[in-house]
Amino acid sequence: MADQMTNPVLDINNLVVAVGKKPGGPKIIDGISIQVHERETLCLVGESGSGKSVTSLTTMGLLPKGTLMPSGGSVKLVGEEILTATDRRLRQLRATKMAMIFQEPMTALNPVVPVGRQIDEVLRAHTDLDAKARKKRILDMMEQVHLPQVERIFASYPHRLSGGQRQRIMIAMALVLEPKLLIADEPTTALDVTTQKQILSLIRELQRDHGTAVLFITHDMGVVAEIADRVAVMRQGRLVETGPLEAVLRNPTMEYTRNLLASVPSLVPRPPREESREPVVLEANELSKVYKERAFFGKGREVVAADKVTLTLRKGRTLGIVGESGSGKSTVARCIVRLIDPTSGGVRLAGREISDISRRLLQPHRQKIQIVFQDPYRSLNPRVSVGESIAEGPINYGVPHANAMKRARELLELVGLPADAVSRYPHQFSGGQRQRIAIARALALDPDVLVADEAVSALDVSVQAQVLDLLDEIQQRLGIAILFITHDLRVAAQICDEVVVMQHGRVVEQGPAGEVLTHPQQAYTKALLDAAPGRHWDFANFRPVSEGVAATM
C-alpha cells in the first residue's frame, strides 16, 4: 500500500506498561509494536485481559495514575513522543491530534449537561472561535454524523437520546477538530446489531472524508471483518500476530489466532437434528406482560413488554428467542420462570398451568425450571462458597446437606471443574468458570427446562464456544430442554433447533433455526441477519462464506 510509505500517524514501539509507580512490577503490556497510517483502520483484537484497552489509554495518556505506568518503549503521534509529554501538552494533543470514543455510550456522556455544550467544550478548550462560529461548526459536525433535527438534539440531555444517537454524539465530539488519530474502544459492543451496522459505516465514511487513522479495538471478529484494513491480535499483553485483514483471516500463522477464529460461531445454522417426538415440557400460550406507570396526578402510561407470545419446547430440544434490546425476550423468559408475574396468558410446565398459581403452590414446580443469567460476575453470591451455592437449591427441597454437597461435587465435574472447587469462592474463578458454576447450580435441581438468559453474551469467544459445547453435551446426556435467550444470531445458529424472533414485545417470526436463519420470511428478520457483522465470512473455515458454498456444490 502506498500509505505504508508515509510516516505512520501512530507508531507504538516496544511498549511496556507495568503495574505500580516503580518499574519492575508485573507487566500488563509487554513489548508491543504497532503502527497506524493515515486513512487506515487497524483492528486491535483480543480477549478480555489481553491489554488492548490499556494500549489505547496509554496512547491517550489516560492511564489511571499510580496504578499503571508505561515503563519502556515509545508511543509516537505524528512523530511526537507521548510517553514523556507533559500533562499540559497531552491536554493540547487530545481532541486536536488524537481523540477517543468508548464502549458505553450510555455512560460516556455527562448526564447533567446538554450534549451540544459537551461538544462545545472541546472547541472552547482548543480554539479561539466565538460562540456563533462554534455553534455553526458543531451543528455541521452533527449533520455529518447523520443526526436528525440537529438544533433540537444540540439542546438535549443525553438521557433523551438513544444509544446509537449518543454514540454519534461521541463521534461528533471526537472528530470535530479533525484529529489525525481516532481511537475507538469497542464503540459498537453495547449497541444492537442494526445500530452497530450504521455506526460502523459512519466511522468508515468519516474516515474517508477526513483521512483519519483509526485504531479500532474490538473482541468481535465479525466487526473486524467489516471494518479492518489490518489486524493486530493481542494476548496477555503481547502481540501475537499482525497482518492485512485477508491474510490474517485466511492464513493465520499463529496457533492462538487459528483457535480464536475457529471459536467464532458460524452464522450458517448447524445441521438440523431429527424432528422430535418427545413430550412437550414447556408451553407458553399468548403470554403478555404490561407494565403500568402510575402517575401521582393524571393518567398512567402502559408499556407492553410482551404481547401474546406463544411458544412450545419439547424434551431434549433447544428453543432460541432472539431479538434486539427492548424486544421483550428477557421479559418472556422471566415470566416463564415466574420471576415476574405475567399480566395475561398461560405457562404450562410439564402439562401443569403455573402462570396464575400462588407463590406457595408454585414452590414444588420451581425445581423443574431453572435459569442461568447473563453476568456470571454478579449472579453468584460472593460470600457463599461454590458448593453451598450449588447445594442450596436441593437443600431447600429437603435433600440432606451431605447428599446435596456430594451432588455438588458430581455436578462440578459434569461442568468440567474439579470437584474440590466446592469449598472455594466465586472470586477465585474466571468468568467462564463462574458460568459453569451457574449452570451446575441450575442443574442441581434436575430441572426439565433450563432457561439461559444471554448466558454466553458476557464471555470471550473461546470461552463462549466451550460453554456452548458444555450445554450441548449436558442436553445429550440429561435430555434437558433449553430455552436460550440471545441477541447474537451466530450463537443462536449454533445451538438452537427452533428460533423465535421478537421485536417490540411481539413474535415476528418463528420456526426451525435452519429455515428462519437462512430463508427469513419477515423484513425484520432479514434486516437483523443483514446487520450481523462479518456475515460474508466463514471464520472457522478461514474463507468467505461464498467460497464455502461454491466448495460444497
Binding site: 491517550m60 489516560l62 499510580g66 497531552l90 491536554r91 493540547q92 494533543l93 487530545r94 481532541a95 486536536t96 481523540a99 477517543m100 468508548f102 458505553e104 455512560t107 460516556a108 456522556l109 455527562n110 448526564p111 447533567v112 449537561v113 467544550e121 472541546v122 478548550a125 482548543h126 440531555y157 438521557h159 461521541m170 465530539m173 401521582f296 396526578f297
Partner: protein, 313 residues
C-alpha cells in the same frame, strides 16, 4: 416545573395536617385533665375552670380540633402558661437569631467543606487527602461547647476583637450583628464542615470513576473544568441532601451553642418550655420544627430537579 412545585406544596398539606392532629392530641390524650396539666400543680379550681372554657374542653373532640386549627390558621397559637405572652410573639422574637445563625453556619460550612472535599477526592490517597480526612475526624469529635469556649477565650477575652456573648438584630446595624454572630457560627460550623467535606469527598470519588469523567479528560480540557463542570455537579445530589437536613437541624437543635453564647434562639425556648411544661409553646415548637423540615425537604427536591435533568416527577 411550576406544576411540580404546586403539586409538592399540595402534597405537604396532608403532612402538616397529620402533625397538627398529633400536636392537638398530645394534650388531649395525655392521661389526666388537660386543664390540670396546663394549669400546673398549684392551680385554683377557678383557674382550672377558666382554662377549660378557654380551650373549649367541654365541647366534643372534633369541634375542639376544628376550632383549634381555625385559630392556628389565623396565627393564634395560644398563650404561654409561664410568661402569659402570646406564643406567636414569643417565637417571633426567637426566630431571627436562630435563622441567622443557621444560615451563616451552613454558608460558612459549604464554602469551606465543598472545596476541601473536592480537593481530597482529586488528590485521593495522597497526604492532602489524609490531612483533610484527619481534620474531619477532629471536627466530628470535638464537642461544640469546647470549640465555643476556646473561641471565646481567644478572640473575645484575650484578643478582645469581638463581644463575648449575645445577639444583635441585623436591623441594629450589620457590624454589631456580624461581630456577635461570628464566634457561634465558627463553633457550630466545625461539625458541619467535617460532615459535608466527607460527603463531598465520597460522592466525588464515586463520580470520578464514571465513564463521562474519562470522556471529559479525553477531550483535553483542564482538570479544574473536569472537577467542577463534570464531577461536582453529578456529585451534588447526596451533598445537597446533607446540607438541607443539616440546615433544618441547625434551626431547631443548637441548644448548647445558644447557651454558650447566650443567644435567645428557639432551641433554648424549646428546652425551657419542656422543662417548665409550657404546653402551648411545646405544641407550637413541634409545629414549627415540622414545618421547617417539610419546607427544607421541598427545597432539596427542587434542587435535585435543577441539578439533574433526569429527575422528573
Amino acid at each position: 416545573m411550576l406544576g411540580y412545585l404546586i403539586r409538592r406544596v399540595l402534597a405537604a398539606v396532608p403532612v402538616m395536617g397529620v402533625v397538627a392532629l398529633f400536636v392537638f392530641l398530645l394534650l388531649r390524650l395525655t392521661p389526666g385533665d388537660p386543664a390540670a396539666i396546663l394549669a400546673g400543680d398549684n392551680a385554683t379550681p377557678e383557674r382550672l375552670e377558666r382554662i377549660r372554657t378557654s380551650l373549649g374542653l367541654n365541647e366534643p373532640l372534633i369541634v375542639q380540633f376544628i376550632t383549634w386549627v381555625n385559630k392556628l390558621l389565623h396565627g393564634d397559637l395560644g398563650t404561654s402558661l409561664i410568661s402569659n405572652l402570646p406564643v406567636m410573639k414569643m417565637i417571633g422574637q426567637r426566630v431571627e437569631p436562630s435563622i441567622s445563625i443557621a444560615l451563616s453556619t451552613i454558608i460558612l460550612a459549604v464554602i469551606v467543606a465543598v472545596p476541601l472535599g473536592v480537593i481530597a477526592a482529586w488528590k485521593h490517597g495522597t497526604w492532602i487527602d489524609r490531612f483533610v480526612m484527619g481534620l474531619s475526624v477532629l471536627g466530628f469529635s470535638v464537642p461544640v461547647f469546647v470549640v465555643g469556649y476556646v473561641l471565646i477565650e481567644v478572640f473575645a477575652i484575650d484578643l478582645r476583637w469581638v463581644p463575648v456573648q449575645g445577639f444583635k438584630s441585623i436591623s441594629a446595624g450589620f457590624g454589631a450583628f456580624f461581630e456577635r454572630i461570628i464566634l457561634p457560627t465558627c463553633a457550630l460550623s466545625f461539625i458541619y464542615i467535617a460532615l459535608i467535606a466527607r460527603m463531598t469527598r465520597a460522592a466525588m470519588l464515586d463520580v470520578l470513576g464514571e465513564d463521562y469523567v474519562r470522556t471529559a479528560r479525553a477531550k483535553g480540557i483542564n482538570e479544574v473544568a473536569v472537577m467542577m463542570r463534570h464531577a461536582l455537579r453529578n456529585a451534588a445530589v447526596p451533598v445537597i441532601t446533607v446540607i438541607g437536613t443539616g440546615f433544618a437541624l441547625l434551626i431547631s437543635g443548637v441548644v448548647v451553642t445558644e447557651s454558650v453564647f447566650n443567644i435567645p434562639g428557639i432551641g433554648r425556648l424549646t428546652v425551657d418550655a419542656v422543662l417548665a411544661r409550657d404546653y402551648p409553646v411545646i405544641q407550637a415548637m413541634i409545629l414549627l420544627t415540622s414545618l421547617i423540615y417539610v419546607v427544607v425537604n421541598l427545597l432539596i427536591d427542587v434542587a435535585y430537579t435543577l441539578l439533574d435533568p433526569r429527575i422528573r416527577y
